[in-house]
C-alpha cells in the first residue's frame, strides 16, 4: 500500500505534492542534528498500524490539512531532558515550516531512552 502524497500547493497548471517519506526525512534529519539526540528510536505507534512506516522514529500523518508528527528519540545521559526535547521540537517545526509549508497540527517529541 503506497501512501498518498501530501499536496502542498495547487496552481492552474497542476499540483505540487510531497511524499510522506520526504517529509519524514526532513523531520529525521532535523532531529538527528538537534543537540542531545544520539539516536532516533524504533518504530512509533502509528507505524505499527500501517505497513508504510517510513522512517525510524518518525511518524507523519496529514489530518484535516495539518501535519501530525510523532517523533521518538534517544538522548544522551545527564542532559536536561526538557531543554533537549524543546530544542528538537522547535527545530523540527522550524525546518518543516521553512521547507514544506504545511501547517503543523501537532508535533510530539517522545524521549524513548537515555544513553549512558
Amino acid at each position: 500500500m503506497e501512501r498518498e502524497p501530501f499536496v502542498i500547493a495547487t496552481t492552474e497548471r497542476g499540483r505540487i505534492a510531497i511524499a510522506p517519506a520526504a517529509v519524514a526525512q526532513i523531520v529525521g534529519a532535523a532531529a538527528a542534528e538537534s543537540y542531545g539526540v544520539v539516536a532516533l528510536a524504533g518504530r512509533g505507534r502509528l507505524s505499527r498500524l500501517v505497513p508504510w512506516g517510513i522512517k525510524k522514529g518518525v511518524d507523519i500523518e496529514l489530518r484535516d490539512g495539518g501535519l501530525v508528527v510523532e517523533l521518538r528519540v534517544v538522548v544522551e545521559h545527564g542532559l536536561r531532558l526538557a531543554e533537549v526535547a524543546e530544542t528538537v521540537r522547535s527545530r523540527v517545526q522550524y525546518e518543516l515550516e521553512r521547507m514544506v509549508g504545511l501547517p503543523i497540527a501537532s508535533l510530539e517529541v517522545h524521549i524513548d531512552g537515555v544513553r549512558h
Binding site: A29, T87, A105
Partner: protein, 530 residues
C-alpha cells in the same frame, strides 16, 4: 583547581558574557532564530557562579563536582545544554589533579570537545561545537606544550575567535544572515572573560546595557539581609573591582556591571546607606531603589498563614509553577506552600523547583507544573529530592487551578493526590490567545492577529471578534454538563462586563461563573469547566 580561583574566573566569564548578551541574542539564527542564545548562556553560567559562591569544596575533585552539577541543572536552552557538556568535560579532567599545568589544560579542552560531541548523533559544524573543537586542537599544538598556562589560554582564545569568524563558511544559514554563530560567540566571550580573569588584564569596554537581565534573576535569591539596594554610579575611571570588594563586605547577592564611566550595582545588605556612601565616593549616584525584602517576605508568609491556619497542622506541602502575579496570589490563597514564576516562555529549571520543594516544611510535597513543558522538569526535580514528591501532571494553569480546588493543606498527601488527580481528569480546559501567524490548524482557518480559541489544546474557533471565539470555547468546555466555570484574565485582557452577562444568559445552568485576574502573558483568557 582551587575554589577561590575558579570562582574568580567564573565571575569574570559571567561579567563579560553579560556585557555581550544582547549582541549574542541578536546573532541567533541557528538552530532556530529565536534570539535567546545570549540569555540562555547567561542563565546557565549564572547558575554555575551561584553554585560556586555557595560551595565549600576543599579539593579539586569537589570543585569539579559542584561545577558539573550546577551546569547540568542550570542548563537553559540548546546553547546552555551544549555549554553544560563543555563545562562537564573540562572540569572532569581538571578535577583529577590539584594543580593546573599547560598539558593538563590541553587535556581539559580535549575532554570538553569530546564530551560535547558525544551528545549528538549528527554534529553540525559552524556551531559552538566547531569552536570548542578547534580550541582543543590549538591547545594540543606541539610548540605550545611547554608554555605557561596563561600563554596557552591566550592562544586557545585567539583560535576560538578565528574559528568563530569562519563559522559562516561552514553553515549556510549563517552566511545568508551575514552573522557568526551565536552559541560560538557566547563560548568565545566566556573564554575571553576567563582568560582575562586569569591574566589580570582588563576586559575590553562594552557599552552599558539598559536593564540588565541579571537583576531580575538575582532577585529570586534568598538572602539574610534586609534591603535590596540598586543604584547606578556615573563618573570617570570608576574602579569596579574595588567597589565590588567593598560592597562584598556589607552584603550579598552582589552584582556590579558596567564600564569605567558607569556602573550598575545590585546588593542585598542591612546597611543601604553605607552602600550608597561607597557609591558617592566614586561618582554621581543615580536611579536608587531600596526595597525592604523582609516586608515582602513577611507579607508572603502572612498570606500563607491565612490559607494554612497553623504550621503544625500542615500535612501536605505544595509547590506550583505559574505565570502572572494574579495567578501566584490565587494559588497561594488556595493553599500552595510555594509558587514559582514560570510558564509558556519562561520555564523554571529543575533546580528552581527542587529548591522550592526543599523549602517546604513537609516530608511529602505535591508539585503542580501547570504547563506541559514543565511536567518533565518537575519530575526531574522530584527524582533529585530526598523527600517524597508527587507530580500532579497539570498541563495548564487553569487545569492546575481546578486541581487546587480540591487541595486541603491539612489533609494527608494521599487524599490530596487522589482528589486532585480526579479533578484534573474531569476538568475541561480552554484558552483564548492571539494568533501570531496565518495557519490552518485542526481545520480552523486562522489569520495573524485574530483571536484563537483552543479546547484541550485543539483549535476550535478563530476570528477578529473576541466574544464569538469565547462563546465557541465556552460552549465546548461546558458541553459535558459542567456547572462551574472559572475565567483567569491575562495581562492584556479586554474589559469583560458585557461578555460575562452574555455568558450567563447563554448558559442558564451555570451554578458559578468566577473571574480572577491571573495576569498571565500571551493568553488574554484562560477558562476551565468543572
Amino acid at each position: 583547581m582551587e575554589l577561590e580561583v575558579v570562582r574568580h574566573l567564573a565571575r569574570s566569564a559571567l561579567q563579560n558574557l553579560e556585557a555581550h548578551r544582547r549582541r549574542i541574542d541578536d546573532l541567533n539564527v541557528y538552530p532556530v532564530p529565536d534570539g535567546d542564545t545570549g540569555t540562555n548562556l547567561v542563565l546557565t553560567l549564572r547558575s554555575i557562579v551561584e553554585a560556586l559562591e555557595a560551595s565549600t569544596a576543599a579539593t579539586s575533585d569537589a570543585v569539579a563536582k559542584d561545577v558539573t552539577r550546577a551546569a547540568l541543572m542550570g542548563a537553559r536552552g540548546n546553547s546552555g545544554v551544549i555549554f553544560s557538556q563543555v563545562v562537564r568535560g573540562f572540569v572532569e579532567v581538571l578535577g583529577e589533579h590539584e594543580g593546573v599545568s599547560s598539558p593538563l589544560l590541553s587535556k581539559a579542552f580535549r575532554g570538553a570537545s569530546d564530551t560535547a560531541y558525544r551528545a549528538v548523533k549528527r554534529p553540525v559544524e559552524g556551531t559552538m561545537l566547531t569552536v570548542i573543537r578547534e580550541m582543543a586542537e590549538e591547545s594540543e599544538r606541539k610548540d605550545l606544550r611547554s608554555v605557561r598556562p596563561n600563554e596557552l589560554l591566550e592562544a586557545v582564545l585567539a583560535r576560538g575567535e578565528d574559528a568563530l569568524a569562519r563559522t559562516p563558511e561552514m553553515l549556510d544559514v549563517l552566511r545568508n544572515a551575514g552573522v557568526v554563530d551565536a552559541g560560538g560567540a557566547g563560548l568565545v566571550e566566556i573564554a575571553r572573560g576567563m582568560v582575562y580573569g586569569a591574566t589580570g588584564k582588563e576586559l575590553p569596554d562594552v557599552p552599558v546595557e539598559g536593564e540588565s537581565l541579571g537583576f531580575d534573576a538575582i532577585h529570586q535569591e534568598l538572602s539574610d539581609c534586609r534591603y535590596c539596594t540598586v543604584f547606578v554610579v556615573e563618573g570617570e575611571e570608576l574602579d569596579k573591582d574595588t567597589l565590588e570588594d567593598q560592597l562584598e563586605e556589607i552584603g550579598d547577592s552582589l552584582l556590579v556591571v558596567g564600564d569605567s564611566t558607569a556602573l550598575k550595582v545590585h546588593v542585598h545588605t542591612d546597611d543601604p546607606g553605607r552602600a550608597l556612601t561607597l557609591g558617592t565616593a566614586l561618582g554621581v549616584v543615580e536611579g536608587v531603589e531600596i526595597a525592604n525584602m523582609h516586608v515582602q517576605t513577611a507579607q508572603r508568609e502572612e498570606r500563607l498563614l491565612e490559607s494554612a491556619p497553623a504550621t503544625a497542622t500542615l500535612e501536605t506541602g505544595l509547590v506550583a509553577v505559574c505565570p502572572g502575579r494574579g495567578n501566584r496570589r490565587l494559588f497561594e490563597s488556595l493553599g500552595a506552600t510555594r509558587v514559582i514564576e514560570g510558564g509558556q516562555s519562561m520555564n523554571p529549571s529543575a533546580a528552581d523547583i527542587l529548591e522550592a520543594i526543599e523549602a517546604v516544611p513537609t516530608d511529602t510535597v505535591l508539585v503542580l507544573p501547570n504547563n506541559s513543558n514543565v511536567v518533565l522538569t518537575a519530575e526531574q526535580a522530584a527524582a533529585l529530592s530526598r523527600k517524597t514528591v508527587r507530580v500532579i501532571p497539570s498541563k495548564s494553569v487553569q487545569a492546575g487551578f481546578a486541581a487546587m480546588s480540591r487541595f486541603l493543606p491539612t489533609s494527608a498527601p494521599e487524599e490530596n493526590e487522589e482528589a486532585m488527580l480526579e479533578e484534573l481528569a474531569a476538568a475541561i480546559s480552554g484558552e483564548i490567545t492571539v494568533a501570531s501567524r496565518d495557519a490552518t490548524i485542526d481545520g480552523v482557518d486562522i489569520r495573524e492577529g485574530a483571536y484563537l480559541g483552543l479546547v484541550d489544546d485543539l483549535a476550535v474557533a478563530s476570528g477578529p471578534d473576541l466574544d464569538a471565539v469565547v462563546h465557541e470555547v465556552v460552549d465546548r468546555v461546558l458541553a459535558g454538563g459542567q456547572t462551574f466555570l472559572t475565567i483567569l484574565t491575562g495581562e492584556d485582557a479586554p474589559p469583560l462586563d458585557g461578555l460575562l452577562t452574555a455568558l450567563e444568559e447563554r448558559h442558564p445552568d451555570l451554578e458559578a461563573l468566577d473571574v480572577h485576574e491571573g495576569g498571565q502573558p500571551h493568553y488574554p483568557l484562560l477558562v476551565v469547566a468543572q
